[in-house]
């Protein structure tokens, strides 16, 4: 019984790590996606400097999500990675371009535009790949004899393209509202204007994904439209609308912070929705949380440190954000 509980605790921790990743790296990938909209050199500089001190920490949650899955659900890791091979590799290659752009673009004059483009392209492809990987996971992975049993393009479908677009749009919204919060002047006003259509588009995509997700699998359909979950079916959309109202109010002049946190709300709610669909699966429709879990000796060992370390990490991460709080000073930077 205790073992059972350990694996569920771990499923919660992994879900938390992935959610933190999505909301943190989401906005800095979004800043990259919006990069071409900046018309002046200085606008691009401040956009990049608004995330330069923190992006690395944000991306580390992706490593924790992957590394955590490897540690405590090795079977799920071993099945999901080959199944989503193409989007994962695409994402990794894109993150390479994007990650080095933070340093390279300050180290060259002649090639600066190239690294500007690498920052934009890397962010865009990484976001789209993550969305497609999510869709590929939601639509189900075939497992035979502890291994992935499908081909290397099985993940590709109209649904995974839809989730790819949805995540990309959502990240762009996060990026725009982050920049509303962090910047001043023309570029601030521009981001405020762009955030409105992005918010609307995100809402539409959220609706479309919500409609098509239950159709991917009989179990999802049962989960959403029968018995006890009906309460969630009503509550989640209401909360989404509340966030939409907050976003609208914020963008219409209700403060620079409200839009960002409303946009984060979309992601948290969407994530909860996926969680409701999945539970108790970790790789639908084949593997449950319990089936994929590592032995108790692994779960216990990893849990002791995780429980102590995650609050510490959150504390110094919060401190790092605090150090770089407020609007970006265009003259600041170490380069």
């Amino acid at each position: 019984m205790f073992g059972l509980e350990l694996s569920f605790i771990w499923a919660g921790i992994i879900a938390f790590a992935v959610l933190v990743y999505v909301i943190l790296d989401g906005f800095d990938l979004g800043v990259g996606i919006l990069f071409p909209l900046a018309k002046t050199e200085q606008d691009r500089d401040v956009m990049m400097n608004s995330v330069a001190p923190i992006w690395d920490g944000n991306e580390t949650w992706l490593v924790l999500g992957g590394g955590g899955l490897f540690a405590v659900f090795p079977l799920a890791y071993a099945v999901v990675m080959p199944a989503l091979y193409v989007p994962i590799i695409l994402m990794l290659l894109a993150l390479i371009f994007r990650g080095v752009a933070f340093e390279y673009r300050w180290r060259t004059k002649r090639w600066k535009r190239l690294w500007d483009f690498a920052f934009f392209g890397g962010s865009l492809v990484a976001a789209f790949s993550q969305g497609m990987a999510l869709g590929g996971l939601v639509q189900g992975i075939e497992v035979v004899n502890r291994g992935y049993a499908g081909g290397w393009w099985d993940w590709l479908s109209p649904f995974s393209l839809l989730t790819g677009l949805a995540v990309t749009t959502g990240y762009a919204l996060l990026g725009a509202t982050w920049l509303v919060m962090k910047l001043e002047g023309d570029i601030h006003d521009k981001m405020r204007r762009i955030a409105q259509p992005l918010g609307l588009a995100t809402l539409v995509f959220l609706g479309l994904v919500s409609i098509f997700t239950p159709l991917q699998d009989e179990v999802y359909f049962q989960r959403w439209f029968s018995g006890g979950s009906l309460a969630f079916v009503v509550v989640v959309p209401v909360l989404v609308l509340l966030c939409a109202a907050g976003l609208w109010k914020g963008l219409r002049g209700g403060g620079d912070h409200l839009p960002f946190f409303s946009a984060l709300g979309f992601f948290v709610l969407g994530f909860i929705g996926i969680g409701i669909s999945f539970y108790p699966m970790i790789v639908p429709p084949s593997l449950t949380i319990v089936e994929a879990a590592a032995p108790d000796s692994s779960l216990g060992f990893a849990l002791v440190g995780t429980v102590i370390l995650i609050p510490i990490i959150l504390a110094y991460t919060a401190y790092a954000y605090w150090v770089f709080r407020g609007k970006i000073d265009p003259s600041e930077g170490y380069h």
Partner: protein, 468 residues
């Protein structure tokens, strides 16, 4: 060649390629992070502007190298799953938690404090900035500790049982983490990182001194690098010898391959200086040997015997040619580093450390060779582990993902093209940054002689040297 073999070969090439690139950056950033912490501390302690100049100079280089390390590292963390899923399923319960601890104790620490170290001196003040610099350095060392625990466990597995489903089940984490080869590997790798960095810093400083003779800041960094070299190189040679003895105990086939020791020799094992190993016929061609020296080094006795390759089935032998030669490259470079360190010591004693053109040229020439030694050492130990991923228990041929060949081929091409382009550009930027000498510290009010003389400074003097 069957499809099965090809998938394995492609996965191996991809792993070897991506990890070879990756290992270069940590080897540099581990050493450089510690160097930055020393420089920052020395600046705060002495207020000698040369330390601050050096800190600001190497900080930028660190940022570029660290960025490359991060992005190539993320690839590594996912590659276990994408290309080695059977290994991940089976060894994940042991290997995974250690790697999760690496993320939790090291990566977050580095990433969280890197921003403050690079951008934040003015925002947080000297004390907290020093703490951030220290945390980044500490993080790189913790990271090395966990990843070498993982790697060492794959070489000398301990503290586990094997379940019915084929998974390794952890039984004793103390034994798993502190497995028999872990302390040797950790020490050898961290010293290698310090040596590599000392060589780069020394090489860049020497280059700057050749172009700008007498540059005060470059003199300082050359001096520090030369001290580091002469202290660490002999320790490294000793540590390498100890590591070799440990390997002889736990992976004798690897030692036999390193020595080119196909057949046991009556009366004692020679040390082979040069040879062409012929694994097919299990013999050494054109061997140039020193009798008995192999026995002396490995067993500390004149006639001591070590296991020969012929005692292992040929399918359990590592590829001899690669291991034999990569080992020789590493050892030769190690002694070259010691030689450079001693030369520097002698030149310092004679008072021409900063002007001897041949010493400076030799420093420049050896500057990048730390990376070569690290790679050669890594090839020796990893190729020497073959044909196993978990030594003696899980074969490499049983470890890879059930992937279609086109998937592996395409991703391999993608990695090769992207890595050469991205890391080629990065290397170019690094070299260009190192070509230029650091700024000469201006005498500030805080430490300069102007104030002590009681004379008001002229207008527009900088308050101090803080330029970041």
């Amino acid at each position: 060649m069957t499809a099965e073999v090809s998938a394995e070969v492609l996965a191996r090439i991809q792993f070897a390629f991506t990890v070879s690139f990756h290992i270069i950056f940590p080897a540099f950033s581990i050493g450089l992070a510690s160097y930055l912490a020393v420089l920052n501390g020395a600046w705060l302690w002495t207020k000698d502007g040369r330390y601050l100049s050096l800190f600001n100079y190497w900080k930028k280089i660190f940022a570029v190298a660290f960025g490359m390390g991060v992005v190539s590292g993320i690839v590594m963390s996912y590659q276990f799953g994408t290309n080695w899923s059977v290994f991940s399923d089976k060894a994940g319960p042991v290997v995974g938690p250690m790697m999760a601890y690496e993320v939790l104790t090291a990566f977050f620490l580095e990433a969280g404090f890197l921003g403050i170290m690079l951008f934040g001196r003015q925002r947080v003040g000297d004390g907290l900035h020093m703490l951030a610099t220290f945390m980044v350095a500490f993080g790189t060392l913790i990271s090395a500790t966990w990843i070498l625990a993982v790697n060492s466990w794959m070489h000398t597995p301990a503290g586990f049982s094997i379940a019915e489903n084929g998974q390794f089940v952890p039984e004793d984490w103390w034994q798993i983490v502190f497995n028999p080869s872990f302390p040797y590997r950790l020490v050898h790798m961290v010293l290698a990182a310090y040596l590599t960095t000392a060589l780069v810093v020394g090489g860049a400083s020497a280059w700057q001194l050749l172009r700008t003779p007498g540059h005060p800041v470059s003199k300082k960094s050359l001096s520090m690098a030369m001290w580091m070299l002469v202290i660490v190189a002999p320790i490294q040679i000793f540590a390498g010898d100890q590591h070799g003895l440990n390997t002889l105990e736990h992976q004798p086939a690897k030692i036999a391959a390193m020595e080119g020791h196909f057949e046991s020799h009556e009366g004692g094992v020679p040390l082979v200086l040069f040879a062409i190993p012929d694994q097919e016929n299990q013999e050494l061609d054109y061997a140039l040997e020193i009798p008995h020296l192999g026995s002396l080094i490995l067993t500390h006795s004149w006639e001591g015997q070590i296991p020969a390759l012929s005692e292992f089935p040929i399918e359990d032998q590592p590829p001899v040619w690669i291991v034999f030669w990569s080992f020789r490259v590493m050892v030769a470079l190690g002694f070259a580093f010691l030689g450079l360190g001693l030369w520097g010591l002698w030149a310092r004693w004679r008072g021409w450390l900063y002007h001897d053109p041949w010493l400076l040229r030799a420093s420049v020439a050896l500057g990048p060779t730390g990376f070569v030694a690290v790679l050669a050492g890594w090839i020796t130990t990893e190729v020497g582990r073959q044909p196993w991923t978990v030594y003696g228990l899980l074969r490499t041929s049983d470890s890879h993902s059930p992937l279609d060949l086109p998937a592996l081929t395409t991703s391999l091409i993608g990695f090769v093209v992207v890595y050469f382009f991205v890391f080629g550009a990065g290397t170019f930027y690094l070299l260009r940054m190192m070509r230029k000498a650091p700024d000469t510290p201006r005498l500030g009010l805080r430490d300069g002689p102007i104030r002590t003389a009681g004379i008001m400074p002229g207008p527009a003097q900088p308050r101090d040297q803080r330029s970041d």
